[in-house]
């Protein structure tokens, strides 16, 4: 192993060890309620080592819980893309569409998932569709905005090629506009996925649906604090992985 790769492995490990030490110290001194890393591990090992056990609706291995959350996020994310991508293209392509709807987009964008969820419950009367509705509504904005920016920043040179060839609207879209804006669109997708994963915890907490977020809230209510930490770590690890995977996809799109 070369010096630089040794460093790039060693230093992150050092960082993790450092955080564990600080966590231990805090749990021993300032907040005695906070379980130490060791206690967290001892009380969570069954959830991690048998990730797919199921004792009841709310007592399941962390892998199973994560799977529920991932499926829910997946549905919300796909819905966000299905709505956000065409919306972004319309905003980028049509000046009048942009003038009519951009203010609404800017208005809806900063609304928190906590505000959408009750509305979703009112509309759908069921927690599962309400959660997906909330995820989609919160996660789609980066896709909308990046797509619109991507379309508007297409080089005039490329558009001129299409103009000289007198391409039909359809060919202009499929041969030039979509491929040219694809890198922006995928950046939007990556950011949207990150947001969808952020929203999942809140939506599961409020709806009480089984998943990592739902589990976290339930364990807080039953005072099993080590499981809160287990959930937090799981949420972080999955979020990190999702971002890496989308980052990889994005890089592949950019490379074309």
């Amino acid at each position: 192993m070369s010096r630089t790769t040794a460093r790039s492995v060693l230093l992150p490990v050092l960082g993790v060890v450092g955080v564990l030490v600080i966590w231990t110290v805090i749990s021993e001194t300032v907040t005695k309620e906070l379980p130490s890393p060791l206690k967290t591990w001892q009380e969570s090992r069954r959830y991690v080592l048998e990730p797919f056990f199921k004792d009841g609706e709310m007592n399941q291995g962390i892998g199973r819980l994560a799977f529920y959350s991932l499926v829910r996020v997946g549905k919300g994310f796909l819905l966000a893309l299905a709505i956000g991508t065409p919306l972004g293209f319309l905003l980028g392509l049509s000046r009048s569409f942009h003038q009519s709807f951009d203010p609404i987009v800017q208005f809806l964008r900063p609304i928190s998932p906590l505000a959408w969820l009750p509305l979703g419950l009112v509309i759908f009367q069921k927690s599962e569709p309400a959660a997906i509705f909330t995820i989609a509504l919160c996660a789609m904005w980066p896709t909308v905005i990046n797509t619109a920016v991507g379309v508007r920043s297409i080089s005039q040179d490329y558009l001129n090629v299409g103009r000289v060839l007198k391409l039909s609207r359809f060919k202009m879209l499929t041969k030039i506009i979509i491929p040219a804006s694809l890198p922006y669109v995928f950046t939007g997708y990556r950011l949207s996925l990150g947001l969808a994963w952020l929203v999942i915890v809140a939506s599961e907490m409020l709806t009480g649906t089984p998943g990592v977020g739902g589990f976290l809230w339930q364990e807080y209510n039953s005072l099993v604090y080590s499981h809160i930490l287990l959930s937090v770590i799981t949420i972080g690890a999955i979020g990190f992985t999702l971002d890496r995977v989308m980052g990889f996809v994005e890089a592949r799109v950019r490379a074309v």
Binding site: D157, Y158, N160, V161, R163, V164, L165, K166, L167, K171, K175, I176, P179, A180, L182, V256
Partner: protein, 268 residues
């Protein structure tokens, strides 16, 4: 009336920081099958003229008539080889050319369109690189793709905007020879924009010098009395070559009232 007539064309760009008067009444006439060059200093307005003839820009005054039809917008009958190539980076060499072939031959069976594309790629000697994307190509190869795409439009008039100026001298000479060969085979009507006096004389039947801007105009056309087919070797020693060169350089020099921003590499 000539095949292409450009009459009194003016163009100014209005920007928040002021108005740039680029073309101040350009006149140019071209017969079918002719190869004409426009030579001028950098920034004088050559690309602006190309964009006007292509229909990508509209003139403030004057008119452009090609084959009896007034130019009012872009179209493949005025094919263009862009100065910055403008190849689509997400398409291979073959796909870039095919885009143009498909656009101008919508009625043809796909097998025939494919054959035309193959022939064009071959014409510019790119068959071995047909499945590469533009970023995997050298500058000279990119330029060849741009030429193939321009020819693929089967244009009545091919506009070539400084096609070789971004290339090194050796590659440039090779591509000039290739262009001579291709033009010998196809006899497309061409307007070649260049800042290289020798390139213009080697390739063109007639050369228009452009005065440096602002409000650039074209000087009187200089006939190149060299017979075709032309060979680069020994050509520069012939009296016809010397005569054309002298006339061109003299006009370009005398048209400079103040020093231009940048001289083209071989002018003066």
């Amino acid at each position: 009336m000539a095949f292409l007539e450009v009459r009194g064309v003016r163009k100014a760009f209005v920007t928040p920081r002021g108005t740039t008067d680029v073309l101040g009444g350009v006149d140019l006439a071209l017969e079918d099958g002719e190869f004409v060059a426009v030579v001028g200093y950098s920034g004088s307005g050559k690309t602006t003229l190309v964009n006007l003839v292509a229909g990508l820009l509209t003139a403030d005054a004057g008119e452009i008539v090609l084959d009896g039809e007034r130019v009012s917008g872009p179209g493949p009958e005025r094919g263009i080889v862009f100065q910055q190539y403008s190849l689509l980076p997400w398409m291979t060499v073959h796909e870039n050319v095919a885009l143009a072939v498909d656009a101008v031959n919508p009625g043809l069976p796909s097998r025939d369109r494919r054959r035309i594309t193959d022939e064009l790629v071959d014409l510019v000697n790119l068959t071995p690189a047909a499945w590469k994307r533009p970023r995997e190509l050298s500058g000279g190869m990119r330029q060849r793709v741009a030429v193939a795409r321009g020819l693929a439009m089967q244009p009545k008039l091919l506009l070539m905007d400084e096609p070789f100026s971004a290339l090194d001298a050796l590659t440039r000479a090779t591509l000039q020879d290739e262009l001579l060969r291709i033009w010998g085979e196809r006899r497309t009507t061409v307007i070649l924009i260049t800042n290289d006096v020798d390139e213009a004389i080697l390739l063109a039947d007639r050369i228009y010098p452009m005065t440096p801007g602002p409000a650039a105009t074209l000087g009187p056309a200089i006939e190149v009395g060299l017979p075709r087919p032309r060979q680069r070797r020994h050509m520069s020693l012939t009296p016809a070559y010397q005569k054309a060169r002298q006339a061109l350089v003299e006009f370009l020099k005398s048209s400079v009232t103040k020093p231009p921003a940048r001289l083209g590499p071989q002018v003066a």
